[in-house]
Amino acid sequence: MSNNRSLLNKLRSLKAWLYLLPALIFLGIFMIYPLIDVLIYSFEIGYNSASQTSLGKGLYNYAYVLHDPYFLQAVKNTFIIVIITVPLSTIFALLISLALNSIKKLRDLFQTIFFLPYVTNTLAVGLVFMIMFKRTPYTDGLINLLISFFGGSPVDFITGPYWAKIFVMCFYTIWIVLPFKVLILTAALASVNDVYYKAARIDGTSRFRMFTTITLPMISPMVFYLIITGFIGAFKAYSDEVAIFGTNLNSAGMNTIVGYVYDMLYGDSGGYPSYASSAALILFAIVFTITVINLLISKKTSIN
């Protein structure tokens, strides 16, 4: 009897593995294998992908990347974008969702409007931002016209001072990530059972206290989800930068870590898979650390 049963169990688990096989094969070929490969490249000095040869093994690639001023600039840019855009976009999204949630008429219409940027192509939005911010020999751009109208002096946002470029970048990033966050948060807000607010109202709770002690804790899993994915997304920023500043990000001083990796592989100064691999792994380490910290914080808050 027991023999029979154990055989049956084995068969069952075999079946389960069989079902998992297609996914495992794909993950293995396109994720695990490249990851291991990248790890190996990052320790191989002067790896040549054409001849598949290297000069030796060691930490030289990491040392090179960490001393490369372009990489340091990319790290700085990335961190500034992350630190500014993740909290701001989450707060804006929360405010917009609260507003959407409190209106009854035309809510669907506004929800659609706020979601539209999400289905718009990043590069198309980038083009619009270019038109709004870029100074050309013919025009100062829409934003500069506005600034002049209110008595300010025009700023060159695309090729001008660093802070102006960062401003455009952050503005753009927030704009791009906002719709998804609004969507998730409106859904989260709508899922809070109305009876809690009724109970709170009968007890004479102020709007502010309702928000801080009922709404926020109840939607906190979603907020944390957005913060964590927001961090990961912002650290991986690249296409947004290209959309506004073009492909030569290093000369614009607006490169990001992913941009640096790309340039090291395919850019004008490219052809260095080893450096690219080390940079990618450094990015991985950063994202991993931040995500772990985020998860720890979210766990701690949800317990209290």
Partner: protein, 369 residues
């Protein structure tokens, strides 16, 4: 605190937009709930009883009419200023807060000179918890407790601010049968101890009858009858109330008043001293299950002849299931268990207790006798 309604009416636009006519959830309530009593608001689902409760607490505003707490007109007072405590059907405990924090929650809303220190709040919360006997569960989260315990926490949270009125919306509907009986006695005890005017809504007549000082029977927004449970049971004003109260339910027959006597089909069941001066007409006859008398030795000519279907022995008494051509479906009589009914006989004859027989007008369904 007394609660008084004057012509209180609440209309909602019809959900089905094709129907222009509004739904009247609460229709012209005019009555008074006496101070310090436990009132059961009773009716089938969708009869507007929860709306009535929401009007009292201020979550809904009436279309017409007024509500008074004692002599103060609170009709336009928002919910937060009415000082009522409410227990929701789903309890509405904040899932992320501990029992203690849930109970303390209403106290945190006090402003100005009423503001309490943390110690005072904890003390009051503990007092409220003691009333409902959950003081050892103060550090649990709602999802770590049983339904009955959550229910008590909800009551404690409603009691902690010493409300003038306590409202309970279907307080027992989420509990299992045994817990329900236990909890309803608990509610009665708490109400007795605190002397807070309490209104609770239920569709379960047994629940309402067993603990209320007064019941209000509602049907489609209209109050049908108000009174002490026993009075309403013994003296229903119409067929609806008679049918709604009592388990097993009242047996309803098509009957007739003929020559000053009450007939069901060909059987004369009650004579002139019962019918008195009611004119001859077709009627509905309601007979409570306990109103049937089975006595083989009786020589009375006034019996109801029925076909016997089954006999269910329940220990204390016996339930006789039978059918009659003047009534639809199975009928039920409850007689004393020392009464021998011949289960092999295809028929059974009953006399009736006139106090348990009610006669209703065929059209209006209002009570005649």
């Amino acid at each position: 605190m007394k609660i008084r309604f004057e012509g209180l009416t609440k209309r909602f636009p019809n959900r089905n937009k094709k129907i222009k006519e509004d739904v009247v959830a609460v229709d012209n309530f005019t009555f008074e709930i006496p101070d310090g009593k436990l009132i059961g608001l009773l009716g089938p689902s969708g009869c507007g009883k929860s709306t009535a409760l929401n009007l009292i607490c201020g979550l809904e505003m009436p279309t017409e009419g007024k509500i008074f707490f004692d002599d103060e007109d609170v009709t336009n007072l928002p919910a937060e200023n009415r000082g009522v405590g409410m227990v929701f059907q789903s309890y509405a405990l904040y899932p992320h807060l501990t029992v203690k924090k849930n109970i303390m929650f209403p106290l945190g809303n006090l402003k100005g000179d009423q503001k309490l220190s943390k110690e005072e709040m904890e003390k009051k919360a503990l007092e409220a918890a003691k009333v409902v006997q959950i003081e050892e569960l103060m550090d649990r989260k709602p999802n770590e407790m049983s339904g009955g315990q959550q229910q008590r926490v909800a009551i404690a949270r409603a009691l902690v601010k010493m409300p003038k009125v306590l409202l309970l919306d279907e307080p027992l509907s989420n509990l299992d049968a045994r817990l329900r009986i236990q909890t309803r006695e608990e509610i009665k005890r708490i109400q007795n101890e605190t002397k807070i005017t309490t209104v609770f809504v239920t569709h379960d007549q047994e629940e309402a009858m067993s603990i209320s000082d007064m019941i209000v029977v509602m049907k489609s927004g209209v109050v049908n009858q108000i009174g002490k449970p026993q009075e309403v049971y013994d003296n229903p004003v119409n067929l609806f109330v008679a049918k709604f109260l009592g388990t097993p339910p009242i047996n309803v027959f098509n009957g007739e008043i003929k020559n000053g006597s009450l007939y069901i089909g060909e059987d004369k069941i009650l004579g002139k001293d019962y019918v008195k001066n009611t004119p001859d007409q077709k009627v509905y006859v309601g007979i409570r299950p306990e109103g049937f008398i089975h006595d083989i030795n009786s020589k009375s000519d006034m019996t109801l002849k029925c076909s016997l279907k089954a006999i269910e022995v329940m220990g204390r008494d016996t339930s006789v299931v039978f059918e009659n051509s003047n009534s639809e479906g199975k009928l039920r009589a409850i007689i004393s268990s020392d009464n021998d009914v011949d289960s092999s006989s295809p028929t059974v004859e009953f006399m009736v207790n006139p106090k348990k027989v009610f006669v209703f007008n065929k059209e209006t369904e209002e009570r005649l006798i």
